[in-house]
Point group: C2
Chain length 143, copies 2
DNA sequence: GTATATGCAAAGGGTTTGCACGGTT
DNA sequence: AACCGTGCAAACCCTTTGCATATAC
């Protein structure tokens, strides 16, 4: 994570302590909702406000330092763009979130590109369904 | 769409005019957010309340007559389970929503099942990316 | 007649916005 | 010095909930 300051400045944004804090929190958490990121930032900087988190995440996303994915009903989850590209498997039964390497979706993305001219944003992809554990539980309870 | 009344009754729910109205609105619209469904229902039944829409959609989903998908930041979109199974392609640039037949995702789903024991709910799937038109615009503006 | 469903209004969670102050350039 | 970024509070949207009345069974 070098050059994030230049990344901001080159697009006309200023470098501030809060932006550094939010970026550090995202990197540190791996994944996080705005609330979770706020909590993390407030460990060291208690005065930072939630609205700053929202505004900062928007800027960091704009300049390409973070992205977000919608994993379900609630708040979006933010993560750094540096991480290994992965897709999220959301279990509708227990709510667990598994990760799968993005390459698993590559033939599928190729088909979308070929048939629909659609360029898929893999990092944003959340797949809903039922996880392994919950399927076993269901199978067991059926006898 | 026969037997929806029995579907409700068999699970202990009552058959009401509002439930009929909401189901009809969903079928009629094809897709719709709670607000859109309300607007449709209110054409004929102006007194129906938004909270009834939410409660009714929950019941109709419970008994398997409708499902919903999360297409982005806003409200979920409901549709009948009768429709051809399809996935949604959401353009992050213009917001357009395209549909693709679910079969296009079948090898991908098979891979998730094989490698992760994960059973995908195709109807719930929303894929984010950039649509054909926006990609052409972007290419054109680059010269 | 009894339990469920509805309308209404109020509360709730998450996100955005207006404004004055403070910090970066 | 000029402008952008921040904290704070209020506003906003979407969704849920409490309660009295109306309706299906």
């Amino acid at each position: 994570m070098q050059g994030w300051e230049e990344r901001l400045r080159s697009q006309g944004y200023r470098v501030t302590e809060q932006r550094a804090d939010v970026l550090a929190a995202v990197l540190n958490l791996g994944h996080g909702t705005p609330e979770e990121i706020l909590a993390r930032v407030q460990v060291d900087s208690p005065r930072v406000n939630l609205s700053t988190i929202y505004r900062t995440l928007e800027v960091l996303e704009e300049v390409g330092l973070v992205t977000h994915a919608h994993l379900g009903h609630g708040s979006p989850t933010y993560h750094s763009v540096d991480e290994d590209l992965h897709i999220h498997l959301v279990c509708r039964s227990c709510g667990a979130i598994d990760s799968a390497p993005a390459v698993i979706a590559e033939p599928f993305c190729a088909a979308l590109e070929r048939d629909h001219g659609f360029s898929t944003d893999l990092g944003h992809m959340a797949i809903h369904g039922v996880c392994h554990a919950c399927r076993e539980d269901a199978a067991a309870s059926r006898g």
